[in-house]
Each structure stands twice: as C-alpha cells, then as structure tokens.
Symmetry: D2
Subunit: 342 residues, 4 copies
C-alpha cells in the first residue's frame, strides 16, 4: 500500500480525541457551544494565550472560520490584503468575495508576504473609486510550510497600527508553526493580532477551529455571524470536547512537533542522497524537486501532491507529515526515493 | 437530574454511529467527501430514493445546507417563498438574505403552509420592481412537528410546475416525518422535489445532512458552492461513515419511529390526565398547554422549551423525544406533570 | 388626451431646473460631485437642516439612495425594521437583501408604522439564531401619502435611542410631507434621524436625491459606498446644479405645497359629489374608491393607478398631483368623475 | 484659465443632447424606460448593431452598468476574468465583489489583455476549491486608450466558445474605439460578444449607457436586476431622448472621431518638439512622458492627470480630448509644452 504523505487531514483523529468523543456517552449537553466542555476548552485557550479577556469561539472548518470572521469584521466597502497565495485567495472558492469583500494581493516569497508590501498596497487605495483596505490576512504556518518570525509578525502589527488595519491570522497549521518557531508563541500571536484561529482539523481533531478575538471592537455579534454563515455547530460540545483533549498536557504542540521532526529528518536524509528542495521549510510540509520520470515512479508508492513544474524536466512535490508519521515511514520513503532516482 | 426533552440534538450520537467513527481507526481517506464511505452512503441514498441519477452531497449542518443550496440554485434577483415560520426565515440569522435573496413568506397553520398561498404570493410578483419568486421552501416535518401529506406535497409540486418554481424540502427532521407518514416516503419526496436533504444531526448523527439533487439544472457547481459556503468538510468521510451506519438495516427510520412512538405515548398519557395540546402533532415534538405556575414547576424537573404564551395564564411548551427516550422516561414525565398539576 | 395623474415623475423637470442644466453651458466641472455647484447645494441643505456638521451627498435615485445608505450603515448580521409596505420591502426588487440584509416588517395603518411595533419587533430578536435589528426605516410621506407627525417621529427616535438603533428616513416625497406638516420640518427631521434623504426625482428634478448624514458614526466611507453601488454620478454637478436651483426661494416646498393643495381641492370636490376615499391623505396622493365599472370609465380619460380591490365591486384608485397640476386639471377630473359616476 | 484635458466627462452635454432634454417640455412620459423615446433609441441601436433580436436597456452610469450586468449574468460561484487594469478591478470600489463575485486578473500590455492568458487563467480553475471562471470582461477602448483589433476580439470569442465563457465588453468609450478601428464595428462587437454597452457619459451625454444583450440566456430578469441595483432611472425617457439625439446622423461616432483626431494632432505636434510617449494610442487619451519639473509647470496651465512615475525623474501624464477640443486648444497646449520644456 502506498505511503500517505498527501496531507495532514487524511485520518480521523488522534486517539485522545476519539476517546473524548466516546467519553461523551449518552449524556446531553447544551447546544451551539454553550456547554461546559466548550467553556473548559475556551478557558484553557485564554490561559495559553494570556488573554482572559479574549472571546473564544469554536468553528467547524478553516474556510468557514475565515469567512465568518471576515464577514463579521468588515463593512461592505472594506477589503482584505492577503498574500497572493493566501488560502482565502486561491482555495476557498471565492468565499470572501461571496460575502462581498475584495481581496487585494501582495507578492510572496516562499509563501510569505512582507509588511512593506502591505503598507504600499494599502497606500495605493486613497479615494472613493477604490475599496478601503481594512484587514491584513496571513497564514501561520503558510501554505508553503514556512513560518513568520516574531519580528515579521511585529512588522505586520506596526503597519496595521500605522494605517488603522486589523491583523488576522489563519492558524489552520498554527501548531506546526509554534513548534518550529516557539518565540512566535500563542501569547505573542494573541498580543499581536486582532483575531486568529487555532486549527484543529489539520493537527489531530476530527474537525474544529478555535477563534480567538482579542480586539473588543470585533467581538460583538460574532455568534450571529457564526449562525448566519453555517459555522455554529448544533452539537458544539463535540468541538469543545476535542479541544479540551488535544490542549491537555501539551499534546497539540507535541503532535505538531513530532510531525515537524519527521519532516526535518526526511529532508536531511533526502538531501544526503542528493535531492534538492524548492524551498527550505521548517514545518510539516516539504517540497523536494525531482525529474519528471522520478515523480512518476514516486507516485506509484507515495501519496503526495504534485505541486507544479519547477523547471524544464523538473517537478516540485509536496510531502506532508503528521503525528502519525514514524521514523519507519521516513526510512521507507527514503528507500523509495533511492529506487526511483536509480 | 432533570429529564432532557429540550431538543433532539443534545447527545453525541447513536452507538452505531460512534462505532462507525471509532472503526475508522488510523487509516487515511480521500478528502472532501471523495472517499469510499461517502460513495457507499450516497449509493444507499440513491437506492432509498429511487434516484440513481441524483447527485448526493454530504454537508455539515442544517443552516449550512439550506444556504449552500439556495445560494447555488438562485440567481441574484430570485427569491424564496417560505412559510412564515420556516427555519430559514426565523432561525438562521438572515443566512439566506446574507447570500442576497429575499424570503417571501406565506401564512401557516400549525407550521404548515398551503400551496394555494404559494401560488397567490408568486402571482403578486410580476414586474421588475419586485423580486422574482423562484423556489418554494418547506420543512418536513415542520418546525411544529407537523407533517405534510403526500397530497399536500403534490399540491406544492403542481404550483411549482405551473409557475416555473423549484421545490426544495428541508429535511432536518425528515426521518420523523417519514416514520409518521410513510406514504410521503424518500421515493415520493425525491420524485416531487427538485432537491431536499436528509437530516442527520437531529436523528442520531454527530453531525451531517445529505443533500439529494434530482433536478439536473441544479447539479452543476454544487461542490464549489459547498466550498464557498464553508459546507465542505475536509474530513468528509466522517459524514459518509455516519450515514452509512445509520442507513443500515432501517436504523434511521427506526430511531425516528421510536421517538415518535414515545411522543405519542406521552401525548395520550398526558391527555388522559387532562392536559390539552396546542396542536395535534404526529412526530417527536409535542406542545402541551399548561397554566403558568405549572410551567414553572415542570421546568424544575424537565428540560423543555417554553414555546410562548397560549392564552391569558396559559403557556405552550415544547417537549421533544429522541431515540434515547424510553417508556420509563415517559412514565417519569407523566408523574412530574401529575405532581405539577396538583 | 388623457389627464396625467399617474405619478409625480412623469415630466422631465421644473423650468428652473431645466434652466440650471442649460446654464451649465460648455464649461467643465470637477467630477463625482466635487464641484462648486454641489458644494453650494450642500451648503444650502446644511442651512435648511440646521446641521452645518452633516455630511451631504447627492445620489441619483431613490432605490440607489436606500441601498447605498443601508449597505454602508449596516454590518453583515444587522437587519432593518421597515413598515410592511415600505418601499424597500416591496418595490426595490430585493435591493436590500441583495446587499445582504434582512428586512423585518411591522404592520401599518394607512402606510404608517407605530413605534411600539418597532420596539416589540426589535425585542423579539435576542439570540444568535436571529438577525440583529439595527436600523429603522420609514418613508415620509409614506407610500400612501400619509405623513408622520412630529410626535410620531419623536416616538421612533425614542425607541431607537432605547434599543441602540439607527433611524433612517426615506424622503423621496419629503417636500410634500413638510408642506403638509410644517412642524416636521427639515430641521426637526435632521435632528431626529441619523440619516435621511431629500427627494428630487418626485418633486421637480430630472433626477437626484440629497442624502443628509447627521450621525458621525455613519459618515466614514460613504462615498466609497456610493461608488460601489453605482450611485456616484460621474457628472455629479448635474445634480448639484438642480438642487441649487430647486432649493432657491423656497421653490422645493412651494412646488410640493401646490401639488398638495391641488390634491386637497380634488379630494373636497370629489367628496362633494359623493366619492368616498380609502384613507384621508394630506399630500399629493389621494385614494378614491369607486365601483368597478366606474374605474373602467375613468381609466379611459385619466392616467391613474388601480391600487387594488377595496371591497366586493369597489376599487381603490391612486391619483397623484404634481407642481404641474392646475385648478383646470382638477375641474376636468371632477367632470370626468361626474360623467363616469353617471 | 487652465485648459481642460482632464477627462471626457467634464462638461454637461453636447448641444444636440441638451436640445433633446429641453424639447421634452412639460409632457409626461411612461416611467422606467418604457417610453417611446427609449423605444426609438433601442430600435436605432438594434439597427446599428444588426441585432433586431437583442435586448437593449438604458442604464445610468458605467459602474452601475457593469455591476448590474455581471450580477445578473453570473451564479454565486462564478467569477470574472478581467485585465488587471480593468475598470471593474481597480476603479469601481469593489462593486463586483460586493455583488459576490471574484475577479481573476490577467496581465496587460498597454491596457490590453491577451486571449491566450484568459485561456490559461480559466484552465487553472478546475476543482471545487476555486471559483468557476464564467465571463470575460474587457473595455473597448481600454483604460489606456488602446483598442482591440477585430482579430483580437475574435480571439476572445474563440476562447469563450472553447471554454463556455460569456464575453462582455465595457464600452464606456466605445465610440472612440470604433472611430479609431472601424472594422471592430457595432455590428462586429454585437456579433462577437454576449453583451456589451455603448457608453454615453464619456461621449457627449449628460449620463446614460446602452446595454445590448445578444445572448438569449442572459436576457431574462435583466430589468429586475436594473431595479435591484439602482440602475433603473425613474425618468428613463431622459436617457432614451439623449441616445435618440446622439445616435442621429452619425453624431456619436462623429464626436468621438473628432476627439481622436485632436488627440492624434496633439501627439504628432508634441512628438515634433521631441516629447516622448509612454504608449502609442489611437483614441482620445494620450500619455506623454516629461521630466518631473516640466510636469509641475504644465499642471499650472493644463488640467490633466498625473498617471504615475515613468522612470527616475520622468512622469507619465494623461491628456484627454473630447468633442469640445479644438485645433486652437491643441495649438495652445503645444505652446504650453514648449514653454514648460524651456
């Protein structure tokens, strides 16, 4: 059977999360996230982020989280500034535009945007013939597995303060980022952003994302927006229970850290046999470059993503590790590469 | 501890559904509902509905299902005709309007609208100063636990054919309706509507609703609409697995039938001790009427919904049974009523 | 040729307005309303309304004015409370919903809503399953030619203050209202509302409506909203020039007052010959009731609106006077009624 | 007084258009464009375009025309492909996104996009995580005064046919384009596009744009969309009268041709004194390049647009001619350049 390095949401959930679900038994819970399990998870998150004053909400998936938040935060003439490869710009089927808001894009290097480009883009929009830039969107880690440093995050905050913008962070893969760059911690991110979410789906949960809103101006009516956008799960306690489980004993960061380590190990072993990489990542997504024929052979034994053409005759691949990836997996993948490379 | 008759989504899921989740183990599945479990569930549904040609999609919750469908089906100037008490009109926080569509309402009796009123409402809208009525929305069973008969459903179909409208049915509680009114079967509903959904959340699933689209004109681009509206679960196999489990051996209708029977039993026993009802339901929601002071006493021992004032000094309550309700529950509730009524 | 009492926007414009256009000559003006003529008209309006601090914007038509304002003022989960017969609810082809907002309706008597009903409707919306009522919409004069008294307007203001709602007034026919009820003056309305517009199209202009925004919280980004909604005329000076002309020497109220007088004269003369009226108006729209056969005869000689069935065999008509209606017109209409009534 | 070359919508209207307005006198006309003058203008346009089967509608302004059309034509998951510098993408304050649709951009050379890039962009969007490209938007002439040749227009049509896209043309400055490139005639454009509009505002009208819809699938409900988007002028006969006047005796193309000739004359005379141009236009917008200090001097005597920095120390200017520009204007401008260049 092929080895699964396709993505980090292929399996149901970590055993601790499954236990949290089965432990629910036949008891009834308050609906729509008003239950004690959600309250407990929210309390844990307020502790982790050092923001007892934050509002914490549990949403179902990443696209829903982004569209619920941005629709709630923005007025009709206001726009988002996003990296050109930001998830909202390319992989959410126009969800932000469907809620009425233009996305202005800034260029990226290895998936990361620069604060200076955000400033320049915002400053281009000065009259009533254009939209009003109002919110900066980034993903941490990015869609390329790269991670913004604490200094880079501070750079975005400064631009936002300077120009009156909100700073919003899509943390679908936040665990991987914090494991790789511990300085850019939950606390630091909660301090620097106006709102962000802690992704569950891509790090061991069945589903669920935890939105943390620090800016008071963005708190009002958020649950109405959740309901309006289909993001308010009737059995919200399911998400509360899962987050309570995964946030216990450092499990959330621990799982991500393991995945990162497996990705790093795989990277170094592949480099040792001469494989080049399209970019240097630090988290659970890695991007080896191989000749086209090698790609074809690899795809027979490894489930991966063909990311695109790297150069004439060369292909970029994406391999993704998870909490399930083992050293044995890594060794097997290296063997497959060796065989494919001839 | 108080007896839970608050709603039909208070507990996690039926044991067979929980087993379906735990049976997933650590295996990986294709994402976004492209997995074999979802395919199997879709195939079962095509069989049940007698529509091998239908498109079946698995969505997460009721509000998301309705807004995804209506946003996909309607053009920007087109409107929905809904019973005034339809879920989309009063309990979805303006989700349909947020996707750009006006809801025109027709009056109800016990939660049910009449085809004649739909015809009249549609015919009022004839020029460019008004919206273009294009889709008829009903819930089966209704928000009042009542059920449209097969003849009534045919009446809506006739009006829709006559006026070029789509007929869409919200089946959040469809199991309860079919158990109560078997003539209005999956097959009949699939034949009479252009699209409808089979509700999972309110009948034993953790979450999940199965959309069945019979009308070819409504099929194209539906998965894009799901993604755009946050209704495409990354781990869609979770919903596929649950539906596969609940649709096995008639469990879905069986659970609903049990809940209906408990509701009927409770109704007859309460009537026997002199309790009156605001309306005669057939499904798992019942609406006893009691003096205000009695309501207060009941609420100490039963979790229920205070539906509103019935008349001076009299209150309507809503009690909801589920697959978990037992004859012992019913007996205990009757005892509590007796005590409260003095 | 039939006498024209169909509506108040059948003719191009008052001669003073036409002169204002021809006087523009071949000179160039700043675009998008940034010209000196618009500035002059805005200054006049600030004087008339006693609000030197207001923002005044010139928009093209009534539907555009309403949708531009409400889209600018409301967040995505916020809703409008409107009389059931409010123009935005029945005659703007779902423009408000198309911009994402639900309209909650309150009942009317002769086209007028009651503040108490607004309060009750707002108070029904308390949880996240519903929209958040945020703005009260009324028309002055109403779609039935009736006029809210100063006390009634104060009643709406009180409810709005009590519940944190904006109060918005559609003044498509504001001139007629002020002429009929001078106490509810420009100044009073500017003081009581958060925003309102002074209608030009229906009182002597080619086109144009003047939005007056008193509430500072609603001012920001309004020109962006105008551009976004297609309400920012490239040659905005055309509207500025027209308002400058019509607001000179009391012409705006004078024209409306004349129309009201003609309507009152016609009403009293028709009453004198035994015609009954569906309601007692004070402005330029009147609603006589006649037998069906009489209606058919009248329609051969008078262009009017058949408003609907009044009772079995009786029809309500709408006759609208304008600044062009003369005493001769009135006399001729009375003769036609006499002949038709036999 | 400074010479006005700022844009082509600075003056009220051509005398023939003003006469058409004053000729309306005090007569009443049917509302909302259902009048005989609009019918006459529509009939003329059907003749000019060789499309007796087309639907012709009169809208107020360019942004309104674009948003009304695209909102009417597209379903909620469908997107527009536009040149990156297309008017809808940069100068309409997010109007298209506010109606729910993403704009995908392709690169431009001198404001013109290439059909091959449209094909490539469309083909990138193949799964449900992306929007569905559905309509190609171009402007003729472009925002840079350049004109697509008949062959280029055919290229877009081919891509559209190949991929099932609509082809929509924004003709805000269509007169200038046809005057410059007569082969790409009204008839050719009506044959190649699914819908386009003939711009009035920027070529001699007070306001008004004539939408021509050839594709039957796009005709239904268009007037509702006009009303919903605030684009249905109550006194629609004002636009009908203006188009009737400007389309008489070839005046519409004649005015544009004159403006083009003045632009060409100015270009050749400026080139003769050594001025370089950022691009070679053919219509009424020209883009000379001058040192920064020269720009500052020119701006004292000419109203023009500073288009941006051309290179270090060099600025691109935009000068726009109109039907009002004379040979004397050209000579005066040349003198001012000579003096400024020293």
């Amino acid at each position: 059977m092929a080895i699964y390095l396709l993505n980090d949401y292929g399996a149901a959930a970590h055993p601790a999360v499954i236990s949290a679900i089965t432990d629910l038994g036949d008891r009834e819970y308050a609906g729509y996230g008003m239950d004690e399990l959600s309250a407990e998870a929210a309390s844990t998150i307020k502790g982790l982020t050092g923001r007892p004053d934050a509002d914490v909400h549990f949403l179902i998936g990443g696209t829903g989280a982004n569209l619920t938040a941005l629709a709630a935060f923005l007025r009709s003439t206001e726009a988002v500034i996003s990296p050109s490869e930001g998830h909202i710009n390319v992989h959410e089927s126009g969800a932000i535009e469907a809620s009425g808001h233009k996305i202005l894009t800034v260029p990226t290097v290895n998936g990361k945007a620069a604060a200076a480009d955000v400033r320049e883009m915002a400053k281009l929009h000065t009259d009533e013939h254009t939209v009003i830039p109002r919110l900066v969107f980034i993903s941490q880690s990015t869609e390329y597995g790269t991670v913004y440093t604490l200094d880079e995050l501070r750079g975005f905050r400064e631009v936002c303060d300077e120009l009156g913008l909100y700073f919003y962070l899509d943390g679908a893969r936040l665990g991987y980022a914090i494991a790789a760059e511990p300085e850019a911690s939950f606390k630091a991110i909660a301090e620097l952003t106006d709102a962000f979410y802690i992704g569950g789906t891509k790090n061991g949960l069945l589903m669920g994302e935890a939105m943390v809103i620090s800016n008071d101006a963005l708190k009002k009516g958020f649950r109405n927006s959740m309901k309006q956008r289909g993001s308010l799960l009737a059995k919200g306690f399911l998400i509360g229970a899962q987050f309570s489980a995964i946030l216990k004993d450092g499990l959330y960061i621990g799982l991500a850290d393991h995945a990162n380590k497996m990705a790093n190990l795989l990277t170094s072993e592949l480099k040792a046999i001469g494989v080049e990489f399209a970019l240097d990542g630090m988290t659970n997504q890695i991007f080896p470059v191989v000749p086209t024929a090698v790609k074809d052979r690899l795809e027979m034994d490894i489930l991966l993503i063909h990311w695109g053409k790297y150069a004439e005759g060369l292909e970029t691949l994406r391999l993704t590790t998870t909490w399930q990836t083992t050293e044995e997996t890594v060794a097997a993948v290296v063997d497959i590469f060796k065989a494919a490379l001839g």
